[in-house]
């Protein structure tokens, strides 16, 4: 069974993740831009890039909504299994980035983290390391209107720069992850960015620009738009979010709101509503609350 480990301390997970990411980037199974409804000439779409298209398509469903955690769990577990296939290793577990540990460091030390070494994610603005333009070109990306368009360029990051009004941010702190673990219940009406509860806290809307959202902002570049799964760091971030969710459930019980009997709950976002996947049968949030038969984490100390 897969055990998900810290990418900074587990060299094997790090090496395999990089190798599998590049393999899936180069895996073409016949899917094209036309078959996905993406404008422009018909071009083959790799398995990696299909995740970019999937995430872009569900932007209004999988974010700022109750299924934020369960939808991304589905996405990550799907990628993990496809990585296991290309690695021929059914025990491979996606690594996570414990960004709150880095967040305890000074801003300059955050930039010097081993995560950004060239044997891992790479440190230059165009993120070479293993992810060179030749090995890892960005082919689909959101434009300013949120439309997914065809491109051909290197991966972009602005690490630590931030965006207008949020200059030179720090990564999230351990105090924030601790506060998230103590936040009850899982979610609350109105089931969106204005909700209190764990989901909106860990997503990073309450308070604003914290935890998951802050990591997207801190990495910047291709991590900002809906096409953020272009960057392998996306999965390291979300694997840590999934770990925090798992820690929250270990502490507070495997509960999810809204249920299908919750008054006024939006259809499609309730416990037993199906979540579609382009890579397999739909699952419900209820089905992914306990994945102990599929993978575990080396530690739930977040």
């Amino acid at each position: 069974m897969a055990v998900r480990r810290n990418i900074l301390t587990d060299a094997m997970s790090r090496q395999k993740f990089v190798r599998a990411a590049i393999a899936l980037k180069a895996q073409f199974t016949g899917v094209t831009t036309v078959s996905l409804g993406i404008a422009g000439p018909s071009r083959p779409v790799s398995t990696w890039d299909r995740f970019v298209a999937w995430h872009s398509a569900v932007m209004g469903i999988a974010h700022s909504r109750p299924i934020f955690a369960s939808w991304h769990r589905l996405m990550l577990r799907t990628l993990e299994q496809l990585m296991q296939q290309v690695l021929n290793d059914t025990n491979f577990g996606l690594p996570y980035w414990d960004w709150a540990a880095d967040g305890q460091l000074s801003n300059s030390a955050q930039l010097a983290s081993r995560l950004w070494n060239n044997d891992c994610m790479g440190s230059a603005a165009s993120a070479p390391g293993a992810f060179t333009l030749a090995a890892f070109p960005v082919r689909l990306a959101s434009n300013n209107a949120g439309m997914l368009v065809q491109v051909n360029r290197a991966l972009q990051r602005t690490r630590g720069v931030g965006v207008s009004g949020i200059s030179n941010p720090s990564l999230p702190k351990k105090a924030s992850t601790a506060a998230a673990l103590a936040t009850l219940p899982y979610d609350t009406a109105p089931w969106n960015r204005n909700s209190s509860g764990f989901r909106n806290r860990v997503e990073g809307w309450n308070p604003a620009n914290d935890l998951h959202n802050l990591v997207h902002i801190w990495v910047g570049g291709d991590m900002l738009p809906a096409s953020s799964p272009n960057d392998p760091v996306f999965y390291l971030n979300h694997c840590n979010v999934d770990r925090i969710w798992e820690a929250w459930m270990a502490r507070n019980g495997r509960t999810f709101l809204p249920t299908n009997t919750t008054s006024g709950a939006p259809v499609g976002f309730r416990l037993n509503d199906p979540i579609q996947s382009p890579f397999g049968p739909a699952v419900t949030s209820a089905q992914v609350l306990n994945v102990s038969g599929a993978y575990t984490y080396d530690t739930l100390a977040v």
Binding site: T29, L82, N144, G146, V163, A208, F279, P281, V288
Partner: protein
Amino acid sequence: MARKIASKTRPQARKTPPTGGISADASLAQAQKTAPYFKKLLADMHAHMQEGSTSTRETDYQGHHIVIETTYTVTVDGKPFNAGLGVTDGGRVYYHGMPNVGFDSAVDLMKAVIDRFADDFAGGGGQGHPDHKGAHDHENGGHDHGMRTARSRTTKNPKKGKTRRAARARR
């Protein structure tokens, strides 16, 4: 017969793999099964982005019911910016193009959009409206002119708000 009916009513149970119900098949055949659904989602998402939107905030205070509707009308170099902006109850401005950021203002949001999507705005312009002598950056000016030019309005008539802003700028 009874067995036939039972199998029809439980198709998911047979398909569901043992590991958390999640399976992964990258084949073309699997992609084709779900392609129409995801094509529609992508098309809906694109359409939604073009629509613009109005955010409604409601609260009760000392026996009064407050409703605030906010619609943003944004142009860049005179061209409409066709992506809907929204505002949270706490006043953070967001848009789906950068789904993980809550901005202090629509001005910051638009600056970030131009920074991130610089190629989309190639050619610039950037001189503001000819009458708008005050089209300059106020970040260090200690006042809020920039906020007022693009921040949330509580009117249902965007044109009315635009006229007011233009008049204020001329002054």
